[in-house]
């Protein structure tokens, strides 16, 4: 965390009233120091809780209804994604828990670059594209792993937009009907699939990084996805993962109705 004073601070002009300015700056920094101490305390409690859950001492998280998590996504901050050994450990936990379909995302594509290393470290996993090609997505024997980055989000939607636009132009060329371009969400779905984006909407998205922010995960696939912030990757633990999944299995959605 890197605190930066804002333009608002200049309202108390340091030339006109330097004492007020410095006093307010002191109060502001003290406020943030107290907040940081609070978060430190929360992290320590979460680590202890995670350790207790991992050790099996908290019975509530013993049995997980993992079938409710049909598709899990994990977003990792790109700087932290370089810790490939940590990522592999996380995926092994996910695999052992019985998750069948997983999407790994970081905005810069660091995980994509290390796809081979990651896949080789997993016991029983298959790349998502291969599973789609072989039509074995429903096969419960192996975990499928999809790798994504920011180019699979808005840029993919832009490519799908061009597919729709070209289709419209071909239709307009026939001279039948003079309507303006009018598309539906189903057509956008089809266009995305046509250009290779067949990944479904995740049920649960776990964010490993400093901020609770999805960092550009495909907007088309996040409509009703539960997003849980897990904290920095370096502090990950099995207990927190179990707790997040357990919490998800108790969520009831009404989808706006």
């Amino acid at each position: 965390m890197d605190l930066k004073p804002g333009a608002g601070g200049q309202r108390v002009n340091r030339l006109v009233d330097p004492i007020s300015y410095h006093f307010l700056q002191f109060l502001w920094r003290t406020l943030h120091l107290l907040v940081s101490l609070w978060y430190l305390q929360v992290s320590m409690v979460q680590m202890i809780e995670g350790f207790l859950i991992s050790s099996g001492l908290v019975k509530r998280y013993g049995a997980l209804d993992i079938d409710k998590v049909r598709y899990l996504a994990i977003v990792v901050d790109s700087e932290e994604a370089y810790q490939i050994s940590k990522v592999i450990q996380l995926l092994k936990w996910v695999e052992d828990m019985g998750v069948k379909h997983l999407c790994l995302y970081d905005s810069k594509g660091v995980l994509k670059t290390n796809k081979k290393t990651i896949m080789e470290s997993l016991n029983n996993a298959m790349p998502f594209e291969e599973a789609v090609e072989k039509d074995v997505l429903l096969d419960q024997k192996q975990m499928t792993v999809e790798f994504a980055s920011s180019s699979d989000g808005k840029e993919a939607i832009t490519r799908a937009a061009n597919v729709l636009f070209m289709k419209y132009l071909k239709y307009a060329k026939t001279g039948v009907g003079k309507e303006e371009p009018c598309f539906t969400e189903d057509q956008m779905d089809e266009a995305l699939k046509a250009i290779g984006y067949k990944g479904p909407e995740p049920d649960l998205l776990l964010i490993y990084g400093p901020v609770r922010c999805h960092l550009g995960f495909s907007p088309w696939r996040l409509r009703y996805t539960e997003m849980v912030h897990m904290g920095p990757l370096r502090y990950m633990n099995l207990g927190s993962l179990k707790k997040a999944i357990h919490r998800f299995t108790t969520v009831q959605q009404n989808y706006g109705t």
Binding site: D2, M188, L215, Y224, E226
Partner: protein, 284 residues
């Protein structure tokens, strides 16, 4: 700022106002979010919890909304987006949908009556979403208040009605396609009809990401999104715009939201400001 209230402020109100001013003078030593978005979740649960009559939760939620907008205005936030009504909400019971529409109409008409106050505070009100789905009276009233406040710029209140992100993305694709057609000037056969010759398909340049971004309903993008009731999903809201946005989910139900939640979201924004600015730069 006191909206819809011509009464003389009480001592406690004045005291609260000055205490808030003191708090803001500390907070504004750091960066303040330009845009905060809200999902007003929990009105019905609040009504159930407090055994209120039908619609009581929404009425309490409206008062909470006025308070939150006041805090944003006083803090110097420039844009606030409210998820007032989703396209998915049309699937609720008809009488509930009608109640919300009637409440919306009542409040918009209230805003029209208080137009001079809204203009005095330099507030611009904009309705965004698939407004064709609104009933005629609500649409007419919304158009009226938008026209009346179009020139205001100190604070922009965006009300997302008949909105979902996926609908917005498809709308952006449609608008970008129409822009492409206009800019390439389709041939005109003299009767006002347009037929595109196959050889004219090639010169059309591709739709670019920046064009889609320009055609979304909601700009600029929010810095913080607050969804009450502890729910951790976006429910098809601002999916495109929240790439670099802090998602905050306090457990309070919407009518229970207060200054402390707004302040906490600003503090967290300040804590992670550098990180998010760096991420924005990378994605440009």
């Amino acid at each position: 700022m006191e909206l819809y209230n011509g009464e003389r402020p009480s001592v406690f109100r004045l005291l609260g106002k000055y205490m808030r001013k003191g708090l803001y003078s500390i907070l504004t030593q750091g960066p303040i979010p330009t845009h905060i978005a809200f999902i007003l979740d929990g009105n019905r649960r609040f009504a159930k919890k407090h055994k209120l009559p039908e619609g009581g939760g929404h009425k309490a939620g409206f008062l909470a909304l006025l308070n939150v907008l006041t805090y944003c205005y006083e803090l110097g936030v420039k844009y606030a987006t409210i998820y007032a009504f989703s396209i998915d909400n049309f699937r609720r019971k008809p009488h509930e949908v009608q109640y919300v529409m009637d409440l919306m109409l009542e409040k918009i008409e209230g805003m029209i009556m208080e137009e001079s106050i809204i203009n005095a505070y330099d507030i611009c009100v904009r309705f965004v979403g698939n407004l064709k789905l609104l009933s005629e009276p609500v649409k007419t009233a919304a158009d009226k208040i938008m026209r009346a406040t179009a020139n205001n710029s100190k604070f922009v209140l965006l009300l997302a009605v008949c909105y979902t992100s996926t609908d917005e993305i498809v709308h952006a694709v449609e608008e970008s396609s129409k822009d492409k057609l206009k800019s390439n000037e389709i041939c005109n056969d003299g009767n006002g009809d347009c037929v595109i010759k196959i050889e004219e398909m090639e010169p059309y340049s591709e739709i670019k990401l920046v064009e889609l971004e320009r055609n979304t309903y909601i700009n600029p993008y929010p810095d913080v999104l607050i969804r009450t009731s502890g729910e951790t999903r976006l429910s098809n809201y601002l999916l495109w715009q929240t790439t670099n946005c802090i998602l905050y989910s306090p457990h309070a139900l919407w009518p229970e939201i207060g200054l402390r939640h707004v302040v906490w979201s600003v503090i967290n924004f300040q804590r992670h400001y550098s990180y998010l600015e760096k991420h924005k730069e990378y994605l440009k």
